[in-house]
């Protein structure tokens, strides 16, 4: 969030800059900024990746969690240029966060980003009429603009045609044809970028007020659009645009994916495949990472002299940060799948199939992607919800997303199930009691999410039914480069989070176990600050059958759910839970009644034991109101659920 654009770091008195082509030191002139604009699915990001490669940074726009993708393009003569990839939009009504950000950047109203010096408008030329609806408002900004007709190879393959000459003359812009996927035409875009000059001090603040309606029009909205549509029609007619024939492949795939019976089956198969990949294929990778962390931790423990520093580093930081890094394979596999599903065009179809079900509980089809992502981690899932155009739908979605059984719950479930549920067959040899309990916990999460959404949309987020519109882009083969760069982004963001939040939390926890000092060393857990906190909350959790040890675990797992496993290990004097899981299970069986163990499972299914989620909720909902409500609601639900479970079992 605090990262500014490279451009804003250029200071006029920077002496290190090499001389530019005209002898002026490059650093005296700000790096030009070009904004990449276009409708969703026009190939914007693919072109962006072709132009910038690895020289890109992902950060958030100030105040919102919309990601800001800025990359540096190397031009001839040592010159450089910054390119910002704006979220895809259909217009400038600023209904969604994405639209608001795009509008603000184009209007030069985002602090830390200079006003763009030029624009590149990219459109899918196979759907030219539809895509050119953006051309009028974008040209109205009055900046030098390049129009990129992307996917022009596909247009011609399917028998379509467009004449750039009249199009360029009529619109008064330069035109380049590309196929961003194969890289054809990208050099021509680069050549255009060569011509962009930074306006020193930024483009003067022209009163730019992008709206869907021309400034000063008193006409109803419909007329403004009708005028825009007429302009587009005239333009494409002059350019001799012949729309491409139907894509036989897209039609055939839709016949399957949107088939009355086969469609939902394929949908189910895709969901199961994503699950399978998260929970089985990721395991060897996770084991490898775990082994690396444990081995390196042991190595550190034997290498460093015995001191408080070693204890902090090995027991605190190494174990704590390691417990989060271990989820990296799952998150990467999830994002690889989601990336393939999105870039291929299937995700839009999945959203359409999901919409009917979602609509019944008060959500909409676009909620499907965040909810599915929630099975890996609620944090990226909540971010994924920003494509939901209706604010109430979005809030309801991000409110219920943490009920999805995220992978951080799994270590907790695994420990308690292994300790308390006998490994016996339940339904034949395939479904055992343990698997049934695990499935039941997943089901519990879904029921809670559905019930909560239903409740919310009838109370706090009550609204008249909104419309759901989903453009179904033609099916395309995802570009490996785009997928790879996205995965790289995700890992960086995830590791940064693990590095900052979890690091801080583990240090605090470790410190609490070390004080007050007794006889110059660490106190007994019972006597430590952490143990005392456990005792303070013991009366509250006693009705659930939990003792102070579980209480400490509940407090520490506020940072992240899986932390309770390590905490219990520490409390029971087991060095790490990995070394002798049997011992920890044995001790748990001694202290916890079976009913209380089920209660603890239910508590973890419901309660929002994750500070990262709370933090991201605050940013996404723009305040503390929603995360506070969500935290309290989920905590009460968890408490009530655990209470009931303790009485019943």
């Amino acid at each position: 969030m605090d990262e500014l654009l490279p451009a804003s770091r250029v200071t006029p008195d920077d002496p290190a800059g090499p001389p530019g082509p005209d002898g002026v030191p490059v650093s005296a002139v700000p790096t030009p900024l070009v904004a990449l604009v276009g409708p969703p699915n026009s190939g914007k990001t693919t072109l962006f990746n072709q132009l910038t490669g690895l020289r890109q940074k992902v950060a958030n726009y100030p105040g919102v969690t919309v990601e800001k993708h800025v990359g540096r393009v190397k031009l001839g003569g040592g010159r450089e240029l910054d390119l910002v990839d704006l979220p895809g939009v259909h217009g400038f009504s600023a209904r969604t966060l994405d639209e608001r950000v795009t509008k603000n950047v184009l209007e030069g109203k985002v602090p830390g980003i200079r006003s763009p010096d030029a624009l590149v408008l990219i459109v899918d030329s196979t759907r030219l009429e539809n895509q050119l609806m953006l051309v009028e408002p974008v040209l109205e900004i009055g900046l030098p603009t390049l129009l990129v007709l992307n996917m022009s190879d596909e247009l011609e393959e399917r028998g379509g045609r467009v004449d750039d000459g009249p199009l360029a003359t009529r619109l008064g812009v330069e035109i380049v044809r590309t196929s961003a996927r194969t890289g054809q035409g990208v050099e021509a875009v680069r050549a255009y970028l060569e011509s962009v000059e930074a306006v020193p001090g930024g483009v003067e603040p022209v009163e730019r007020n992008l709206t869907n309606v021309k400034a000063g029009t008193a006409l109803p909205v419909v007329d403004a659009f009708a005028a825009r549509r007429r302009l587009v029609r005239e333009v494409v007619d002059e350019a001799g645009f012949v729309p491409p024939g139907p894509s036989a492949m897209s039609e055939r795939l839709d016949a399957l994916f949107l088939h009355r019976f086969l469609g939902p089956l394929v949908f189910l198969a895709v969901v199961l495949l994503v699950f399978q990949s998260i929970f089985t294929w990721a395991v060897p990778l996770m084991d490898a990472i775990d082994l690396m962390i444990v081995t390196s931790g042991e190595w550190l423990a034997t290498t460093l002299p015995d001191s408080w520093f070693r204890s902090l580093l090995v027991d605190g930081v190494w174990a704590g940060v390691g417990s989060v890094i271990i989820f990296l394979p799952q998150i990467l596999i999830l994002f690889l799948f989601l990336g393939i599903l999105e870039d291929s065009g299937y995700m839009a179809r999945a959203a359409v199939i999901a919409d009917r079900m979602m609509y019944r509980v008060g959500l909409q089809g676009r909620a499907f992607l965040p909810l599915l992502s929630g099975y890996a981690c609620a944090v990226p899932a909540i971010l994924a919800a920003r494509t939901i155009d209706d604010e109430r739908d979005r809030l309801a979605t991000i409110f219920v997303t943490p009920f999805m059984t995220c992978s951080a719950r799994l270590p907790v479930y695994a420990l308690l199930i292994a300790a308390f549920i006998p490994d016996e067959p339940l339904l034949g040899p395939v479904v055992g009691k343990r698997a049934a309990v695990l499935l039941g916990l997943y089901g519990l999460g879904i029921v809670a999410a559905v019930g909560t959404a239903f409740l919310l949309k009838r109370t706090l987020l009550k609204a008249r039914p909104t419309s759901f519109l989903m453009e179904l882009p033609p099916y395309r083969i995802p570009a490996p480069r785009t997928l790879a760069l996205r995965l790289l982004d995700r890992s960086k963001i995830f590791l940064r989070r693990a590095g900052r939040v979890i690091f801080a939390v583990t240090v605090v926890l470790w410190t609490l176990t070390q004080f007050p000092r007794s006889e110059g060393g660490a106190p007994e857990m019972d006597e430590s600050a952490l143990g005392r906190i456990g005792h303070v909350i013991e009366p509250v959790i006693e009705p659930l059958g939990f003792d102070w040890r579980i209480g400490v675990g509940l407090v520490t797992s506020l940072a992240a759910r899986e932390v309770i496993v390590g905490t219990l290990g520490t409390i029971y004097g087991v060095e790490t839970a990995d070394e002798d899981p049997e011992a920890l299970q044995e001790l748990l069986r001694r202290d916890l009644e079976p009913g209380a163990a089920v209660g603890l499972l239910v508590f973890f299914a419901f309660a929002l034991q994750c500070m990262s989620t709370v933090a991201v909720m605050r940013r996404e909902s723009g305040g503390w109101k929603w995360p506070a409500l969500q935290f309290t609601y989920m905590l009460l639900l968890g408490y009530a659920g655990a209470f009931v479970a303790y009485r019943v079992f």
Binding site: V221, F225, D355, R356, D389, S467, L469, E471
Partner: protein, 97 residues
């Protein structure tokens, strides 16, 4: 007190009766008007769903919602939305084409 019935559902207006939702697959129609409040109509307008445009239902989603073709793009709507789009059938000559 009983809420008043929604007018357009009960009183058949001979001119505006035909809605996009009533149109069979592959029958191209012209949009006459959008019977939705402005904030809900705007996303439609941005995507070129404007009075005068031609829409053709091409498929039905497994949930029974229409998927229409407009300006060479495929757009999925809810049937509730389709029921608010007033359309008229183009003359038979154009239908053949």
């Amino acid at each position: 007190m009983q809420a008043l019935p929604v007018v357009e559902k009960l009183v058949p207006d001979p001119v505006r009766e035909l809605r996009l939702g009533d149109i069979p697959l592959r029958q191209e129609v012209e949009l006459v008007s959008i019977d939705l409040p402005a904030d809900q109509a705007e996303p439609l307008l941005e995507r070129g769903v404007l009075p005068g445009c031609r829409i053709c239902p091409v498929r039905s989603s497994p949930g029974g919602d229409p998927i229409v073709s407009i300006d060479g793009s495929l757009l999925a709507l809810r049937r509730e939305t389709a029921a608010c789009l007033c359309v008229r059938i183009l003359s038979s000559l154009q239908d053949v084409a």
